[in-house]
């Protein structure tokens, strides 16, 4: 049995460890690319949401690299996501990959371990369901996911300050390799220091006062750089700080009912949408309000074309929240036809808009003043955010 899973940005590191810790063989698909998208689009239902097509393409790639067991995260209702695994399996078999299994991994089940039983059945290995083993797998998974989340946080800040274009991206890639190789608890415990050191080695211009944007949206699109046209990197290289709490870790912890940040966002969104309607809808609304109150310069909402919950979020922001909070927002709805051209122009126009607004409003609004003139937000974000912020602020 050779296991694989679809791409979602840097999160292959975490998924990989979940299976290698169980001593299972894993093959990581190539980073999502044109070929994968082409195949995904060709064999998917025409009107299904883009992540379905992209991940189907990844699966075909993984199968060609030898994988026979594909693991797909699912979430049962109310959105389409829960159907992905079954429909994709059906399509793959009809494509002629007769012996392929697609195993749904319900995140809520991560701690109930049905997925381990399924893997045990599929692999025929009797030794998987040993407590110490699968607990270790989950611990490694969570730790790596948390560290990936930290890398994302640091990356979002640092890139806006780098002297040499591309330094941050290089550091991130090196860190991913290192994290992939860190396979003892001691290494993982110390990895936060590694992240800080590596970022600290980047030559940055501390005198800058970059624009700040919040970014949220549908999780796959927001985390996978190939499908979102490398949105985070483009913003960073334009000199914009990107604040994004959405990550794999953020989601999984939410599924364990332990994500207090998300609970706070739900509280903010409650007057507008009182419940989880699928996707990230409620939390996008919460993030938008939160960022507006904190005096951010702008907000970016990225999602797959026609994504049901995100379209609802967009409707509510446009028709209501924008009028109340007036935080500039730009929407990107991605599908296989999204091109670089219009994308760049729109981003640049948005940049100009935010810049003008900062001059006009943020700097003169008393409640934002304290923030607007500081380089880094005081008391914003988690503990790690603040440690990273110190690195940039320290003279």
């Amino acid at each position: 049995m050779l296991i694989s899973f679809p791409n979602m940005g840097p999160n292959w590191v975490a998924f990989k460890t979940l299976f290698t810790a169980l001593d299972l063989d894993v093959v990581v698909p190539d980073p999502t690319n044109r070929e994968a998208i082409k195949i995904g689009v060709k064999y998917s239902p025409e009107f299904v949401c883009f992540p379905f097509k992209a991940t189907l393409g990844d699966f075909v790639n993984a199968i060609e690299k030898g994988a026979d067991t594909l693991v797909m995260a699912i979430d049962c209702g109310p959105c389409r996501f829960g159907f992905y695994a079954s429909v994709q399996e059906r399509i793959l078999r009809d494509m002629g990959y007769k012996d392929i299994r697609v195993i749904p991994l319900d995140q809520a089940d991560l701690l109930e371990f049905h997925w381990v039983k399924t893997l045990q059945e599929v692999s025929g290995r009797k030794d998987l369901f040993i407590y110490s083993k699968y607990i270790k797998a989950v611990i490694y998974f969570l730790k790596k996911a948390k560290l990936l989340n930290d890398i994302q946080t640091a990356e979002g800040l640092f890139r806006a300050y780098e002297h040499n274009l591309g330094d941050t991206t290089r550091v991130v890639n090196e860190l991913l390799e290192k994290l992939d190789k860190a396979n003892t608890l001691v290494e993982l415990r110390n990895f936060k220091k590694v992240i800080k050191n590596d970022f600290n080695s980047i030559d940055i211009d501390k005198s800058k006062t970059p624009l700040r944007v919040g970014l949220s949206g549908e999780i796959h699109i927001s985390l996978e750089p190939y499908v979102n046209l490398d949105l985070r990197r483009k913003l960073g290289e334009m000199g914009v700080e990107v604040h994004q709490s959405l990550s794999l870790y953020d989601w999984v912890v939410h599924k364990f009912h332990l994500n207090y940040h998300r609970k706070w966002l739900e509280h903010l969104a409650k007057p507008y949408v009182p419940m989880d309607i699928g996707g990230e809808c409620v939390w996008v609304l919460g993030e938008y309000i939160d960022k507006a109150k904190a005096g951010f310069d702008g907000f970016i909402h990225s999602y797959p074309f026609t994504c049901m919950p995100e379209v609802t979020a967009r409707t509510i922001i446009t028709n209501k929240l924008k009028k109340i909070y007036d935080l500039p927002i730009i929407y990107f709805s991605f599908d296989e036809q999204s091109g670089q051209e219009g994308f760049r122009t729109r981003l640049e126009a948005f940049y100009d808009l935010m810049e003008a607004r900062r001059e006009r409003e943020i700097k003169s609004t008393p409640e934002f003043m304290a923030n607007g003139q500081k380089k880094i937000y005081p008391q914003y974000g988690g503990e790690f955010y603040n440690e990273i912020a110190q690195l940039i602020q320290a003279e």
Binding site: V87, R90, P274, G278
Partner: protein, 358 residues
């Protein structure tokens, strides 16, 4: 406020937009609200103007039924400035294992922020959290009614709704039945019966199939081609008792969208025992519909396996009469040729064998 008084009782005026779940629940809502002493105002059948209005207010990536809902709400409010409430229910879940499409979960949230919309009359159906009688009690509260009255009203509404369903299962068409409900007439089948040499199963959400404006009077077009039409509403209840398992040989999944589940349960019958009872299946889908984009794929693949002709029609506000006609005609022709080739008798309203009770 537009409270009209009859005797010493105050009657609230409540508007119901003729869109989305109207086509599924109107008889239930009507009885429920009337039992709670409400005067109901219904928006007109969908027309060009309503669609345009909806398209302007709901943006591009929404499915057309939701855009029509926007248009219907705005029309309702425009025509009736004295409404006390607009009835915008929140259907989350009606059977414990299932959900509705995310757009139904947030319907009141997107409607209440439209300009000029009066107070919304809330009716949340969410059996994952509480029974429907509780929903009815909450509804009653907003109308100044006590618990007992609301529960009574709910019971009556449910009984009436059951009667309505039985009528549909006896062969009544939804639009005919809705007209009877609206006019407070007893359920009676029309004298003239449509007879055709072919029989199709027409699948899709009720608001796609029975909103004759947006689907360009699809059923009538089929009738004109000599095709008898069955919809899910006409099928016996027992077909819907067992859940459908998607992909039973692999990663087993229990379908969690209620309406899509009904579609797949209906299909399950015609894929197996009922294979010979119909000649083809047409699935009417709105552009940008999330659930149907997946379900239709599954059905299409199943149809190929059993060799049942299948046509998927995607509708949006730009669907043209001519294009639709050509597709229907060529599909019907194809099916008719196939029947001839197999040497089968025309159907002419032959009874379907449903194997009651199995």
């Amino acid at each position: 406020m537009g409270l009209s008084t009859t005797g010493d009782k105050k009657r609230y005026k409540v508007g119901i937009p003729r869109a989305l779940h109207y086509y599924r629940y109107y008889p239930f809502w009507k009885k429920l609200l009337e039992e709670l002493d409400v005067e109901i105002v219904l928006s007109p059948p969908t027309n060009k103007n309503i669609v345009e209005e909806g398209v302007t207010h709901g943006f591009g990536e929404l499915c057309i039924p939701v855009k029509i809902y926007y248009g219907q709400v705005l029309k309702l409010v425009e025509n009736n400035p004295d409404l006390d409430f607009v009835f915008v229910p929140r259907y989350v879940s009606e059977v414990p294992e299932s959900y509705f499409c995310p757009k139904f979960l947030s319907l009141p949230d997107v409607i209440k922020i439209l300009p000029e919309v009066p107070k919304i009359l809330n009716f949340e159906v969410n059996v994952k959290e509480f029974p429907i009688s509780t929903s009815a009690i909450e509804l009653g509260k907003q109308l100044g009614k006590g618990q007992t009255a609301s529960v009574e009203a709910y019971k009556k509404a449910q009984a009436y709704f059951d009667e309505y369903h039985n009528f549909l299962r006896d062969g009544g068409s939804v639009n005919h039945a809705l007209r009877l409900v609206h006019r407070n007439l007893p359920f009676k089948l029309p004298k003239k019966e449509m007879k055709g040499d072919l029989r199709f199963l027409l699948l899709g959400h009720a608001y796609n199939i029975f909103d004759t404006f947006i689907n360009l009077d699809f059923i009538k077009k089929l009738h004109e081609q000599g095709v008898e039409v069955l919809t899910i509403e006409n099928l016996p209840e027992y077909l819907f008792k067992k859940p459908v398992i998607v992909n039973p040989r692999g990663g087993v999944l229990r379908n969690y969208w209620q309406h899509e589940e009904e579609i797949m349960q209906a299909i399950r019958f015609f894929l197996t025992k009922g294979r010979a009872e119909i000649d083809g299946v047409i699935f009417l889908i709105s552009f940008a519909c999330g659930p149907d984009s997946l379900i239709s794929e599954l059905i299409m693949r199943d149809m190929k396996v059993v060799g049942l002709p299948f046509l998927e029609i995607i509708m949006d506000e730009h669907s043209g009469e001519a294009g639709m006609m050509t597709r229907i005609e060529s599909f019907v022709e194809m099916v008719r040729r196939k029947r001839k080739r197999l040497g089968l008798e025309p159907r002419w309203k032959s009874k379907i064998k449903f194997y009651e009770g199995t």
